[in-house]
């Protein structure tokens, strides 16, 4: 790794870069310690029979996941996806082209699970699974943010994220886990959030916020925690409790709840929306994390679950909670019905905070002073998991329109970036999918390149000075990487931060 990390130069015209083979060879995050692995029930280190275990795990996943099986078979090497990945664009390493990334696993699949690969490995690009191959997996499957951009452009919808998840699941099964993600999952299991923030600390923080907002606005906005029988349970990424700029959006949600006059609560037992089980592709871990939310909802007896600004968390909540923990509707099994009967089914379960706020705006239940945001020229970064793996509202594409509608309702100056870099074609921030760790900073800076180019264009043409996002990872990643590209790190902020700026509040009894 280079001693000093610098941003790659903007492409003069955004053409596809030339290949730089092995440019990122060996770049990899820290490996999980035995203790971290143990806590999740994974082997602590590479066992002697790792080879058999890895092949067996691949066989198991091929039986459990149609996506994996079909995607490994169907690719025709057409090359349509080759220039679509931000990590390829930023690093020029050909193994970061989505199809080449898939081939790292596909070559092994062919060797052990298909006839031509068993008979003529060279001909079909099949290879034995060696320790070198395993190391290569560890490196390049941690250079994918599972953003699904490639799947939009593939004629068969092949989603490299699915392949990456399978590869990481296999790596965990042979004791070769990633420190960052696995350590965090361990903290959620024991303490209830990614940061390892215990209940009392959380209560203190919330009290502090109440005082801050009172000082700022003169209004008693509550930040309740563990309130039995509250109407709404708010599940939000724990970064919202203390990180900048995340916390300003948390204040925004609280103000919206205040204005709506609804009773809401956080849960100290389940104070995390993030679910890194997704990143490591492990169904059991993902389920175990989701079950805490089910438990909190049952314990507190809430009617409604609302999810704060977080990209992959919204994917898990929207797409998987119903499957994993019966949080949703339309179940006929007793397990899921237990909770589904308790929840108020007139609302979508779960609801995104943007859906909630936009609904109130449409019903004229919120008042704004838009001029409070007049010092800002705003653009919106679609977060990949929200854009390509979830929805908001009733219409497909609501996940693009609703946040933009909110911004337009609370601010006067909004402009979109180049259409090839937003909505379903949005570029990842460069830090998603379990890569938001300092040991991968070089990769993160490079991966941000396409987004930074698009941002630069609207900064130059419209004087944009606020990059709005609804994802905790995007917010942290941009705070860190914006300065590498010569921007102010405070440009990044949440959508509800803008809501917070403009909302007009009254004291309620």
């Amino acid at each position: 790794m280079a001693a000093e990390i610098t941003a790659p130069a903007y492409r003069v015209i955004p053409i596809v870069p030339a290949l730089k083979p092995d440019a990122m060879e060996g770049v990899k995050p820290f490996v999980a310690s035995e203790k971290i692995q143990d806590a999740l029930g994974f082997p602590g280190t590479l066992p002697d029979d790792w080879h058999e275990r890895a092949i067996a795990k691949m066989g198991e996943l091929l039986k459990k996941y149609r996506s994996l099986k079909v995607y490994l078979d169907a690719c025709v090497h057409c090359g349509a996806c080759t220039d679509k990945c931000h990590y390829f664009i930023g690093t020029q390493d050909p193994k970061n082209m989505p199809v080449a990334r898939q081939d790292l696993l596909r070559s092994v699949y062919r060797r052990y699970f298909t006839l031509p690969g068993k008979l003529f490995p060279k001909l079909v690009g099949a290879r034995d699974l060696t320790k070198e191959v395993l190391d290569e997996w560890y490196s390049y499957y941690h250079q994918c943010s599972e953003c699904r951009r490639c799947s939009v452009f593939c004629p068969y919808g092949i989603d490299t994220a699915e392949i990456t998840m399978a590869a990481r699941d296999i790596l965990d099964a042979v004791g070769y886990g990633q420190k960052y993600s696995n350590e965090i999952i361990g903290k959620v299991h024991t303490i209830g959030n990614n940061l390892g923030l215990p209940g009392p600390a959380l209560e203190n923080t919330m009290e502090g916020l109440e005082e801050d907002v009172k000082e700022d606005t003169g209004i008693d906005v509550r930040f309740p925690i563990d309130v039995q029988g509250a109407e709404v349970l708010l599940i939000t990424p724990s970064a919202d409790f203390f990180a900048e700029p995340h916390i300003d959006s948390l204040i925004g949600y609280a103000k919206v709840f205040h204005a709506a006059g609804v009773s809401w609560t956080l849960s100290s037992m389940s104070s995390e929306a993030a679910n890194f089980g997704l990143f490591i592709g492990n169904y059991e871990q993902m389920r175990k994390v989701a079950l805490r939310i089910r438990q909190a909802a049952l314990d507190l007896g809430v009617k409604r679950i609302i999810v704060g600004e977080c990209g992959h968390a919204w994917r898990v909540a929207y797409s998987f909670w119903n499957t994993l923990a019966g949080i949703g509707a339309g179940a006929d099994d007793p397990y899921a019905l237990m909770l589904q009967k308790q929840l108020d089914q007139r609302h979508k379960q779960p609801t995104h905070i943007c859906e909630y706020t936009w609904d109130l705006i449409q019903r004229d239940a919120l008042k704004f002073d838009k001029t409070k945001n007049d010092h800002l020229v705003i653009t919106f970064h679609d977060s990949c998991n929200v854009a390509r793996a979830s929805r908001m509202g009733d219409e497909p594409g609501g996940q693009f329109d609703i946040p933009r509608n909110i911004i337009r309702a609370v601010a006067n100056n909004f402009v979109d970036m180049d259409e090839n870099t937003i909505r379903e074609k949005t570029f990842c921030c460069g830090g998603g999918g379990g890569l938001l760790t300092d040991d991968l900073l070089d990769l993160r800076v490079k991966g941000a390149l396409p987004r930074m180019e698009a941002l630069q264009a609207v900064v130059d043409s419209h004087g944009v000075n606020y990059l709005a996002a609804i994802c905790a990872i995007c917010k942290t990643q941009f705070s860190k990487t914006l300065p590498y590209y010569g921007f102010n790190m405070r440009m990044i902020g949440g959508v509800h931060q803008l809501v917070s700026n403009a909302i007009i509040l009254e004291n309620k009894q």
């Binding site: 057409c78 080449a100 452009f153 929805r391 497909p396």
Partner: protein, 242 residues
């Protein structure tokens, strides 16, 4: 009866059985493997009708490829639609009397071999000329294109350069369909063409040509976007709740 007739008859029975059996096995295998999570690439349709429409756009228009890369899209469309017309035209060798719509297609089918060959040549050229695609290409990618191109060119040669006795050829194939071996016209070019086609049929179920059935089973394209409204649970995942 020539040895060649008997050999080709045997080859085509083998190829047909492998193709049908292999594909049936693959399709059953895909269908049997659960998709445990809802992973449509969004924005996705919220109804089954919408999904059918989305799939139809993928299969007939190559919608995603169109968004992605116009050159690959163009060559792929030329190749696949050329091939489809050519295949339909070939039905005349297997039906007596020839179905009327196949008769209508005849003039288009005859010329469709040209776009098919142009498309293939374009796709192959990209494997040499575009650095990224050169990097990902395996020997089998090249061989597959060579095989298809050779099938197209040998067929075209018989149509335009060295004519074959198509009446006798048809008698041969109609015979095969009655499990009866009729004499196959002796022609090197025809042997080549038929041999290559049989090869293609034989490798189809074991190769990346599985993209044809695969596209229908791709969860990112064929799932309805309704996870909040309907609980989606794979059998192996349901076990965990017991």
């Amino acid at each position: 009866m020539s040895i060649a007739s008997i050999l080709f008859a045997a080859l085509f029975y083998l190829a047909a059985i492998t193709l049908a059996g292999g594909l049936a096995y693959r399709i059953a295998d895909y269908a049997r493997t659960p998709a445990p999570l809802k992973i449509p690439t969004t924005p996705a349709p919220t109804t089954t009708g919408g999904v059918v429409f989305r799939m139809a756009r993928e299969v007939f228009l190559f919608e995603s490829l169109f968004k992605s890369n116009l050159w690959i899209w163009l060559f792929s469309i030329l190749f696949h639609f050329g091939l489809a017309l050519v295949l339909l035209r070939h039905l005349r060798y297997f039906t007596e009397p020839v179905w009327s719509w196949v008769v209508l297609l005849q003039p288009f089918g005859t010329y469709a071999a040209f776009p098919m060959v142009i498309g293939l040549a374009g796709l192959w050229a990209r494997r040499f000329l575009v650095e990224r695609i050169r990097y990902i290409s395996t020997p089998s990618d090249h061989l597959m294109l060579a095989l298809l191109l050779a099938i197209g060119l040998s067929g075209l040669s018989m149509k335009w350069l060295v004519h074959t006795d198509v009446v006798a050829l048809k008698t041969f194939f109609l015979g095969l369909m009655r499990f009866d071996v009729e004499p196959l016209p002796a022609s090197g070019l025809l042997y080549l063409h038929l041999g290559l086609v049989a090869t293609l049929m034989l490798i189809f179920p074991f190769s990346k040509l599985l993209h044809a059935p695969g596209v229908f089973f791709s969860p990112s394209r064929n799932q309805v976007d309704n996870p909040r409204e309907k609980r989606h649970l794979a059998p192996w995942a349901a076990e965990m709740e017991k």
